[in-house]
């Protein structure tokens, strides 16, 4: 006569129905719980997407350490090209750019707001520059070694390591990402606590029923299941809502960020939330909801009255 040992699909369907029935008994409280969970999940999600957008949209020079090689005035264009080619072959060099002296003077004019600066000199006093983007951490020994070896080259006047901005930007991004991770961890713990508290209230309300189930031979798994499903449903709902918040938040943050970077001459590519950004809150919400409910749904002591 005994059926599916509580593990069959019907038992799970019944437990799901029971979970929905319990949620429907107090819709306002559970809706507020879902909203709180959604906001908590969305906060680190939106921050993460914004930081990643910043990382992606920033010019490469802002986050990559570089070296400017100032070439001697009497070095020919062929020698400069040869020097650039030598740099391209190096494994620690990501990119090489030759900034000619005329190009440099023009850039300086624009930067200083002096339109006729080019015509003010009989001969261009600026040197040609070979700019390198380096595949190394700023301040590392590798950078220093490269600088020293370049300075010994007769074609080179002097070498400048450009890592001030990249250092600051990189550190700021890393700091931001770590803060988001810490915030995320705290939010995950808070969600488990919120669901545990909410489920515990439900368990306390159903104390008489759970005592009866226990007394008539229901297993703890059978008794707990509707409450765990409640947590899963709440977590799923909160996660879906958070996913929508992340999507909307990414658009809201991405647009002004894109406009801001356009001011610095960068392309106005819009960076939004990826499918993974959207899926993470749903998965986390559902799992954490289930975990919180599982912790809370311990059977109370049966009282014989």
């Amino acid at each position: 006569m005994l059926g599916s040992k509580h593990g069959g699909a019907i038992a799970h369907v019944e437990a799901s129905r029971e979970a929905v029935r319990r949620l429907a008994n107090d819709p306002l409280r559970h809706t507020v719980g879902v909203l709180v969970m959604a906001l908590m999940l969305a906060l680190p999600g939106v921050a993460w997407v914004a930081l990643r957008a910043l990382d992606v949209m920033l010019p490469v020079e802002a986050t990559t350490p570089g070296v400017s090689i100032f070439v001697g005035q009497d070095v020919s264009e062929e020698d400069i090209s040869a020097l650039a080619d030598e740099m391209v072959d190096r494994s620690d060099v990501l990119a090489v750019e030759i900034v000619g002296r005329d190009q440099g003077l023009q850039a300086l004019s624009q930067l200083a707001g002096l339109g006729d600066l080019v015509g003010a000199f009989e001969t261009n006093p600026l040197p040609d520059v070979v700019r390198l983007a380096i595949d190394a951490l700023p301040g590392s020994e590798q950078m220093q070694a490269l600088s020293l070896s370049l300075e010994s080259d007769p074609r080179v006047e002097f070498v400048r390591i450009d890592q001030g901005l990249s250092n600051e930007m990189r550190n700021a991004l890393v700091l931001g990402q770590r803060l988001v991770l810490i915030l995320g961890a705290m939010v995950l713990a808070a969600i488990v606590l919120v669901v545990t508290g909410a489920t515990r209230i439900e368990v306390t309300r159903a104390r008489a029923e759970l005592a009866l189930v226990d007394l008539v031979g229901g297993t703890q798994r059978y008794a707990r299941r509707p409450f765990v499903y409640m947590g899963l449903v709440q977590g799923l709902a909160g996660g879906l809502l958070a996913s929508a918040f992340v999507y909307g938040g990414a658009i809201l943050v991405g647009q002004p960020l894109s406009r801001l970077l356009t001011l610095y001459g960068e392309s106005a590519a819009l960076v939004g939330a990826t499918p993974i950004d959207m899926a993470v809150p749903v998965v986390c919400g559902t799992l954490l909801g289930g975990l919180g409910a599982r912790i809370a749904a311990r059977l109370p002591t049966v009282a014989w009255t």
Binding site: M1, L2, G3, S4, K5, H6, I10, A11, E14, A208, E209, L212, V213, D214, L215, V216, G217, G218, T219, Y222, A223, V302, W304, T305
Partner: protein
């Protein structure tokens, strides 16, 4: 069916059961009597593993209740039915749902449940209130729903703790008649009560507790 062997139960320094020994055969019916606080409920609690003896041994069928594992406990409880003074029906569930609870909890095949529930409700003459909520029933009807819930899974042992405590004499007789019927179908029945008149009207064995000691078991 039931065997208490020198069972003592202590709560701190207070002795609730004091070297209680008796045995009930399968299909036997008995009353457990005594004043309030004599230890009747404590004794019944031992029979569904809500209490463990401080000393001695309790056997129900082949189960030594001291040695039951956590996974065996639900299986054991499915062989026992319990009737309370207050039937403890779930107020937001219909009569049908209340009676079906032990079957669902025990994982019975869902196709079997309606037949079992209807049969149990017929036994207690409540087939006509199957969709009613407990709040819509009289106290006698509620008690009979509680009895239907206790027997729906066909237990081998039926325990009742003051089952007629809230009922008038006429209803009490009806309830006792039901217990007798179950006993006639081979169920072992143990009823805790302090209603002397009710006990005297029945031809069954009496176990009398006084301050935790079994003073009569004839």
């Amino acid at each position: 069916m039931i065997s208490f062997e020198n069972v003592t139960k202590r709560y701190g320094t207070r002795i609730a059961l004091d070297e209680v020994s008796f045995a009930l055969d399968a299909g036997e019916m008995a009353f457990l009597v005594g004043h309030s606080g004599a230890g009747k409920s404590t004794l019944l609690r031992h029979l569904v593993c809500l209490e463990a003896p401080s000393e001695g041994r309790v056997m129900v069928g082949n189960f030594d209740l001291r040695r039951l594992s956590a996974s065996q406990l639900p299986m054991f409880r499915r062989k026992v039915g319990v009737v309370f003074q207050d039937p403890q029906l779930l107020p937001d569930r219909t009569v049908y749902e209340n009676v079906a609870l032990p079957l669902k909890a025990a994982g019975f095949d869902r196709k079997v449940i309606p037949g079992r529930v209807n049969a149990a409700l017929e036994q207690v003459e409540l087939s006509h209130v199957v969709d009613a909520l407990p709040g819509e029933l009289s106290s006698g009807q509620r008690q009979r729903v509680g009895i239907a819930r206790a027997v729906v899974h066909k237990p081998a042992l039926l325990l009742a703790d003051e089952p007629t405590g809230n009922l008038d004499p006429e209803l009490s007789k009806k309830i006792m008649k039901l217990f007798t019927q179950f006993r006639n179908h081979g169920v072992t029945v143990l009823i805790a009560t302090h209603e002397q008149a009710l006990v005297e009207a029945q031809p069954f064995r009496v176990l009398r507790l006084d301050q935790g000691r079994l003073v009569e078991s004839g």
